[in-house]
């Protein structure tokens, strides 16, 4: 009896509720609407119109036509997709390695969700910091967990026991491992400049000294140091973004799931919910990657002139409004920046052709790795000489 009453039921229920709320009500709609945005933006780039007419799917309940009281412009499409994934037949071929086949989609989706937990998406709201897990070593945590994402793809390809998934997963494994190096190394100049791995501190530094990539976003003019540091930061931004494209398997590093070459790559043999997990996992990783780029280079939730959630900083005349409004505004600023970066992800996908495998490996090991390494020394030199 004592044991049962000593279990912190309230804490467990509260944490479980928060987790379920965050994953199903915040992350999944964001991911589904990213898919919808991709379909629309890619269609407009290709001179066609994406899904622009979807009603609520009440034909499932026996109605004659889907219900569309006013034109939603296709915004109901992700709901229709979700219903489709739930109702589709989940087919497991006979020739697969069952344990790994079932494990692989979970391993693909999980790291993306966990990395989202460490990112501060706002300043403060009524005293609570807007980050799920305020980790001291936030940046290292992000890199460590995203390395686990490789396992999902490896196991998917291996357990599918078939040509094309095998080839896709082999390519993806080598690609992701190669570009993790450049990703980590290109983030090191940021650590040198900001002096901390905690993502919250990096954002605070950028709030005081201007965004790293855009040093003008602060009160007053940037000093000589910030202008000089802009060069290695720009190089770091380029190498980090390219590595982020490679890590999330997006074009131009699309080899693992190259539709024209490998049927569907590593997720060929998957259907219904398992495929949905791969698909959503890829877009969640994209969101996590964009959020990380925003935090490291674009100042996170900071916008010049707006006070933060506790009412500090910003233009003096804006303090008449209660502080929580600025908390909400900071969250919106953050998501606006993430949306901009997601648009750039989609834009680049439909502009560039795919890299050939040897070109990809050469780029990762010969060029990006060296550039990121030299960049660290450059940053250290500039920091030392502009004391």
């Amino acid at each position: 009896m004592d044991f049962i009453s000593s279990i912190p039921w309230e804490l467990i229920a509260w944490s479980l509720g928060k987790t379920i709320f965050l994953i199903f009500i915040v992350v999944l709609p964001m991911v589904s609407y990213t898919v919808y945005a991709e379909r629309r933006v890619s269609a407009l780039i290709q001179d066609r119109v994406g899904p622009n007419r979807t009603g609520m799917p009440i034909t499932l309940l026996g109605a004659k036509k889907d219900w569309q009281p006013f034109s939603l412009g296709g915004l109901g499409q992700p709901i229709a997709d979700a219903v489709k994934f739930l109702l589709k037949e989940d087919f497991v071929p006979g020739h697969v390695n069952t344990i790994y086949f079932w494990m692989a989609p979970c391993l693909a989706m999980m790291p993306a969700l966990i990395t989202l937990a460490a990112i501060p998406f706002g300043s403060e709201l009524a005293g609570d910091k807007m980050v799920v897990a305020n980790i001291n070593v936030g940046l290292l945590f992000m890199f460590a967990i995203s390395s686990i994402g490789v396992f999902g793809i490896v196991l998917a390809g291996w357990s599918s026991n078939s040509k094309y998934p095998f080839l896709g997963s082999i390519r993806s494994t080598s690609q992701m491992i190669s570009y993790e190096l450049s990703m980590g190394l290109s983030a090191v100049p940021i650590l040198l400049i900001c002096g901390s791995t905690s993502l919250g501190h990096i954002i605070d530094y950028q709030g005081d000294h201007g965004w790293l990539l855009v040093p003008f976003m602060k009160e007053g003019l940037p000093g000589v140091r910030e202008i000089l540091l802009w060069i290695p930061v720009l190089i770091a931004f380029i190498t980090f973004s390219i590595s982020m494209f490679a890590e999330t398997n997006r074009l131009p590093f699309d080899l693992p799931e190259s539709e024209q070459e490998l049927v569907a790559g590593y997720h060929t043999e998957y259907s219904s919910m398992k495929f949905a997990l791969f698909f959503l996992g890829e877009y969640t990783a994209m969101i996590a990657g964009s959020a990380l780029v925003v935090v490291l280079f674009l100042g996170g939730w900071h916008f010049p002139g707006l006070p933060d959630g506790a009412g500090n900083g910003g233009l003096p005349f804006l303090h008449i409004v209660p502080a929580w409004i600025w908390g909400v505004a900071d969250i919106l600023v953050f998501f606006g920046k993430v949306a901009l970066l997601l648009f750039i992800f989609i834009w680049v996908r439909w502009t560039l052709p795919r890299f050939r495998y040897d070109q990809l490996m050469k780029l990762g090991w010969l060029y990006l790795f060296e550039i990121a390494l030299v960049n660290i020394f450059l940053t250290a030199g500039i920091l030392a000489f502009t004391k």
């Binding site: 933006v41 407009l44 780039i45 290709q46 001179d47 066609r48 119109v49 380029i238 834009w347 680049v348 439909w350 502009t351 560039l352």
Partner: protein, 176 residues
């Protein structure tokens, strides 16, 4: 003989690849802007806008049989269309035209003529090969049905869809 693949020398801008990425991004954003501002009109919003009133002359819709202006069905059941049809959608059973009929000179007509619209690929080869100018592809494209049996168009349905066509060659002219 060894064939050496010509590899051109790249300029430094082409080597780092980033300027061409940016140039490509400008092209795609131009397409995006044009679609959003309505400058490119490439899409017909289907149920609201249809092109039934101004279809091209050569459009290949559903195949139909025609009668000519004397009221005779032009098909003589030669079965050429049945043999040329690539998915074998046409099935014909010929019969003799009885000697008392006005058109006894023609001798043959189809007892049953069935086109399975599920198989039809709208290629138009039956129209091309017909020596009697009896089968024509009309402009009807939305052929749907709720059962497979409904989608097999029999002779009556085909004549109903085809109607009467004027101006065709009258091969069986009785005056000759």
């Amino acid at each position: 003989m060894a064939y050496v693949v010509p590899r051109p020398n790249l300029t430094w801008k082409e080597k780092i690849y980033l300027p061409s990425i940016v140039a490509g991004l400008f092209i795609t954003i131009k397409h995006l802007r044009r679609m959003l501002s309505g400058q490119t009109k490439v899409v017909m919003q289907y149920p609201e806008e249809k092109w039934d009133s101004h279809m091209p002359d050569h459009y290949r819709g559903a195949p139909t049989l025609v009668k000519d202006d004397h009221g005779r069905e032009r098909c003589v059941a030669c079965q050429l269309c049945e043999f040329i049809c690539p998915p074998r959608a046409i099935t014909i059973t010929p019969e003799e035209i009885p000697a008392e009929s006005k058109f006894a000179k023609v001798e043959k007509r189809p007892k049953e003529f069935e086109i399975d619209m599920i198989r039809c690929i709208y290629c138009g080869l039956c129209e091309e090969v017909c020596p009697e100018q009896a089968i024509f592809l009309r402009k009807d494209y939305a052929i749907t049905g709720t059962t497979r049996a409904e989608m097999k168009h029999d002779k009556a349905k085909l004549y109903e869809l085809g109607g009467v066509m004027d101006g065709l060659v009258n091969k069986w002219n009785p005056k000759k």
